[in-house]
């Protein structure tokens, strides 16, 4: 599988290295050179310095032939715009993004975007744990 990951955040870097070690072809885009260092020496995929809402950076990352696109920068709006740009311009079968703001996540689920909202997930997990009998 060929995967393009936008945002070399902790999640982005971890996902990239995991996928790479399983044999997937992985490209990571980040605008900050120091974030790309998170990938470490074992990572043999592509790392691209650029902005994910810019088609040029996406093309450099090989979005034309990608099977999946993941947007995990720390900015919700950047992830939302990048995911929609990729959906609109390139026919990528799998698109996944992170949105921290739970209300924004809810709003955009109406547009059939596959959104992971860590805020809601974490709160739910904690609540479940707390409600269990000790």
């Amino acid at each position: 599988m060929k995967v393009v990951i936008l945002g070399c955040s902790r999640v982005g870097a971890l996902l990239a290295t995991e996928l790479f070690s399983k044999g997937d072809e992985v490209s990571v885009i980040d605008q900050n050179p120091s974030s790309l260092k998170r990938l470490g020496k074992e990572f043999g995929g592509k790392s691209i310095l650029g902005i994910g809402i810019d088609e040029e950076a996406l093309r450099k990352a090989g979005i034309d032939k990608a099977d999946a696109f993941v947007a995990v920068t720390n900015d919700d709006n950047t992830n939302l715009m990048a995911a929609q740009l990729v959906r609109e311009k390139f026919k990528i079968p799998k698109i996944l993004l992170r949105v921290y703001d739970s209300k924004r996540a809810q709003a955009f689920k109406e547009l059939d975007l596959n959104i992971v909202c860590p805020t809601v997930d974490t709160a739910q997990k904690m609540e479940t744990f707390l409600s269990e009998k000790i």
């Binding site: 810019d54 088609e55 919700d76 715009m81 929609q84 609109e88």
Partner: protein
């Protein structure tokens, strides 16, 4: 009209001032506290502190009553998401976004923003026009770029001059909506005659754009 302006930088600031002078009801939204307190000296209760993409901010400003929302922050991704939220959640009839990178105009429109304004593109074209008369300056794109409004100055060899408008053969789906001659604004009728150096404003459908441009070459 009730207009919400998101982004209190130079563009948002002068836009809010302009709209107020024309007696519109305006609410300016700024997320930076320092800039907000400066703006509140001038705008009082018409400016609020908040993030235009956060639901609570939008609720506080009575967003569902708004006729138009204009997003003019310096970040394209913010302008897009603010406009989309306004459409999805509050069914605001009209959203307008500032586009900082002209490359993003097309995608904004295909994602539902009603109109986009790219100052970069307009300024660029205006400068070009000073160099070369007959340039086509895009002013506004509507309905996902299906229709555009252009401005152009007529040169001495333009096929449009010195003839009655009714005698011109314009392509389908385009119409001359105004002509500017010195300080005069002319709303053209069939017997209007365009002259050299007139600046004309035209409404052109997407499919007619190329044919229309050729008329000026």
């Amino acid at each position: 009209m009730y207009v919400i302006v998101v982004g209190g930088g130079q563009v948002g600031h002068s836009l809010a001032r302009l709209l107020m002078a024309e007696k519109h009801e305006v609410l300016l939204v700024e997320k930076d506290p320092a800039r907000y307190s400066k703006l509140s000296e001038e705008f009082g209760e018409s400016v609020i502190l908040g993030d235009g993409a956060e639901l609570d901010t939008l609720m506080d400003m009575g967003v569902n009553r708004a006729d138009v929302l204009v997003a003019v922050t310096g970040m394209d991704q913010d302008n897009l998401i603010i406009c989309q939220m306004a459409k999805i959640l509050y069914l605001i009839p009209r959203t307008i976004a500032r586009v900082n990178d002209p490359k993003n105009e097309e995608i904004f429109q295909s994602l539902g923003v009603d109109a986009t304004v790219s100052s970069t593109r307009i300024i660029g074209s205006l400068i070009e026009e000073k160099i070369d008369a007959g340039m086509f300056i895009p002013l506004l794109a509507l309905k996902g770029g299906e229709v555009e409004i252009f401005q152009t100055q007529l040169s001495s060899d333009s096929p449009l001059i010195d003839k009655k408008i009714s005698k011109l053969t314009l392509p389908q789906n385009c119409i001359i909506i105004a002509a500017l001659r010195e300080n005069q604004i002319i709303i053209p009728k069939g017997d209007t005659i365009l002259k050299e150096n007139d600046t004309i404003i035209t409404l052109v459908g997407k499919n007619a754009k190329d044919t229309f441009k050729k008329l000026f070459l």
